[in-house]
């Protein structure tokens, strides 16, 4: 693996010899970077012109966004009948896509909040980008129910706002819980992301040459000076937000699963849904992080920060959560048999061998079988393999939502209303467009925001250890000069202390 690490093109990091007693592979940051190297490696991408690849990707992604806007205008104008939704499948792709995107939006806050509480230092290299991805995925999720309600102008009815219709949301409905679960998740994730950004924005501010750029960054960095007091407040705020965000990571997809589980349809009405949905969400979210990070570290030369070890750890999480999801699929079958309810049994047999068997087996293959390749260390450390697998996982997770939503609905309680769902071109166009929106937002993030949490990465580097300098000199790069503050001579300190006590005695 080290071979691929050594051909870093633009990285300012030709690795000096490995430090004594410190095997390089245990380090979270490779290439013996100094603090300044890290600042430089990350900040410059938000400052200089974007690489050609960025423009190409942005052109493609932005066309997708425009397609999405046009199609949503079409949907609003004509009504949601232009999607394939119809009796008996009233929840078609819009809900499938909603659950899919919310699921993807789980990795970021898991990485930044739960891994933070568990002191998983490797999160620092990827948490910024993963959180950004989370926010954008949640945006992509929220558009679906927003337009699926049909009467877009009445969407505020979902909120408890006093009105002369004397209308109030139905608090017994899981669909309403969804509104609150997803929107509070979005707000807390946004706050969490922003709080983490403040020190890095201040770094960018201090590096800014342009008047307005400096002012804008100064506005968003809230007067950060990096003083001890700022850091203490920051750490406290970050810890509190991590504590707040942690239950949300688990609650959001639980509530999304209630949309299904609280109803009485065979195949939906099961208690396994909340944990199974949360595992699936983390599974798909991590897969999306891997997809994006593999490209990002390649294009932006961040292989010393986002190392193969980071990717491997994410692949392990994908393996674990993928296996949980696979286990849940099998448990569902067991429960259908064990319940002895013929409708439940029919629902599951119909899933696997009915008209949607093709979707079911795509799901099984992508989610349960292929991730098992990550048992092999060689495969989970191989960039091409993990890139391909991460995409396969997200295809599988989309199909999981498709299978759950469509197969339970297409067999209504009355056989006379059985049907087969067919997607329309608007369904396909809006799904493609939502990927366009997601990538547009992510590319804007890469262009304008420091994509790695510099201050946090610095905190896990060896130089941040208070005892580091005992072994490796005064902590300054060679030629950097002497420390600014020369420690007082022990003899002088002694004399000062002695003088101090003398003064006290005389005054007393």
């Amino acid at each position: 693996m080290e071979t691929s690490e050594k051909q870093l093109p633009a990285d300012p990091s030709e690795p000096p010899p490995v430090g004594e007693g410190e095997p390089d592979r245990d380090r979270l940051v490779r290439g013996h970077l100094s603090f300044h190297d890290v600042t430089e490696m990350v900040s410059r991408h938000a400052e200089k012109k974007a690489p050609m690849a960025w423009y190409v990707a942005f052109a493609v992604a932005f066309s997708g966004t425009l397609l999405l806007l046009a199609l949503f205008a079409y949907v609003v104008w004509n009504g949601i009948g232009v999607w394939g939704n119809n009796q008996p499948v009233g929840w078609g792709w819009p809900i499938v896509n909603f659950v899919f995107w919310v699921g993807i939006g789980h990795a970021g806050t898991l990485i930044s909040a739960i891994l933070y509480l568990f002191r998983q230092h490797w999160r620092t290299a990827i948490n910024r980008a993963a959180e950004a991805m989370t926010l954008f995925a949640v945006v992509c999720a929220l558009i679906w129910p927003t337009f699926h309600v049909g009467r877009l102008w009445a969407i505020y009815w979902t909120l408890p706002i006093p009105n002369q219709m004397a209308m109030w949301p139905q608090f017994k409905s899981p669909l309403l819980w969804d509104v609150f679960a997803v929107s509070s998740y979005f707000i807390v994730s946004l706050l969490f992301w922003y709080v983490g950004l403040v020190p890095d924005l201040a770094t960018l501010r201090d590096r800014a040459k342009n008047f307005w750029r400096q002012r804008i960054l100064a506005f968003f960095s809230l007067g950060w000076t990096g003083s001890n007091r700022h850091w203490r407040n920051y750490e406290k705020a970050y810890l509190l937000l991590a504590g707040l965000a942690t239950p949300l990571v688990l609650s959001v997809h639980s509530v999304v699963s209630f949309d299904f589980a609280v109803s009485v349809l065979p195949g939906w009405h099961t208690t396994i849904f909340p944990p199974y949905f949360v595992a699936g969400a983390i599974f798909s979210g991590f897969a999306m992080v891997v997809t994006l990070m593999v490209i990002t570290r390649e294009v932006y030369g961040l292989k010393n920060l986002i190392t193969i070890d980071h990717l491997e750890k994410m692949n392990i999480i994908i393996l674990v959560t993928g296996s949980i999801v696979g286990f849940a699929y099998i448990t569902e079958f067991f429960m259908a048999w064990y319940s002895q309810v013929e409708y439940e049994q029919y629902a599951f047999l119909n899933r696997a061998f009915g008209p949607y068997a093709w979707a079911y087996w795509i799901m099984m293959t992508c989610n349960l079988i292929t991730p098992q390749l990550f048992w092999f260390k060689r495969l989970r450390r191989s960039v091409p393999v993990m890139f391909a697998l991460s995409i396969v996982v997200n295809i599988g997770m989309w199909f999981e939502r498709f299978v759950i939503t469509i197969t339970s609905l297409h067999r209504d309680f009355l056989p006379s209303s059985w049907g087969y769902f067919t997607a329309t071109w608007v369904d396909i166009g809006t799904l493609v467009g939502s990927f366009g929106l997601f990538l547009t937002l992510f590319l804007l993030f890469l262009r304008f925001v420091p994509m790695v949490a510099m201050s946090e990465v610095k905190g896990v580097m060896p130089q941040a250890d208070p005892h580091f300098h005992e072994h490796e000199g005064n902590g300054h790069v060679e030629g950097d000069g002497e420390p600014y503050i020369t420690p007082a001579e022990p003899a002088l300190v002694k004399a000062y202390r002695a003088g101090g006590t003398e003064d006290e005695e005389t005054s007393a």
């Binding site: 505020y156 706002i161 009105n163 219709m165 209308m167 007067g223």
Partner: protein
């Protein structure tokens, strides 16, 4: 590095917090009041093809509502009278009046007069006149003092919003009147009307529904 913004910028977060809370409350109020039928619809008075005056017919001549709106007690719709109803009198009375020319034309050509509807309910709500009239909701309660609306035409007197409907559905005893006073205009309730209405509600089992599907499909 010195701060780029002066010290007074420290009040900005607090100010913006206060402003957003106040702004939010203000926004809710504005939508609550100005987006409502009470503000937008009450007073709607479209021009009608014939300058028909309820004032003349009801107040001056003392006609009952049901002389023309015949189906109000047994149909969802309180029908607008056909031209023939007008012509029962106007073939004799003011038979040459120029203002009645459209009525005579309609009669001669056998084409209905195109009255403009004043009281609209949204198409996702259904409403039955019969159910209300038979249980003691007076015409005036929803339509206002029709007997005072002159040749300018009928206007909408009440908001007809959902909240307004629910006011009565939740406390019908405050609004009901005896069935023989349904069409009375300017009816004043007697002192003990709430008790009397409660007694009627109990005896007749009047239970105005407040669930969604009572009015919405």
């Amino acid at each position: 590095m010195p701060q780029l913004f002066p010290k007074k910028a420290n009040t900005l977060p607090l100010l913006s917090l206060g402003a957003s809370v106040l702004g939010g409350v203000l926004l809710v109020f504005l939508v609550w009041y100005y987006f409502s039928p009470e503000f937008k619809v009450v007073g709607y008075q479209p021009e009608q093809p014939v300058p028909y005056s309820h004032e003349t017919h009801v107040q001056k001549l003392g006609m009952d509502c049901q002389y023309c709106h015949t189906n109000v007690a047994n149909s969802k719709h309180a029908n607008v009278p056909s031209t023939e109803t007008c012509m029962t009198c106007h073939s004799q009375v003011r038979a040459k009046a120029s203002s009645l020319q459209p009525v005579r034309e309609s009669w001669a050509e056998d084409k209905p007069i195109k009255w403009t509807k004043v009281h609209h309910l949204p198409d996702y709500a259904h409403f039955s006149h019969a159910a209300h009239v038979d249980k003691g909701v007076g015409c005036e309660t929803c339509h206002g003092r029709i007997d005072k609306m002159g040749a300018d035409g009928v206007y909408q007197a009440e908001p007809l919003s959902m909240g307004w409907c629910l006011d009565c559905h939740r406390q019908p005893e405050k609004y009901l009147r005896p069935n023989d006073e349904i069409t009375t205009m300017g009816y004043t309730q007697p002192a003990n009307f709430v008790e009397r209405n409660l007694e009627r509600i109990g005896k007749q089992g009047i239970q105005p529904p407040t669930n969604c599907s009572a009015c919405h499909y």
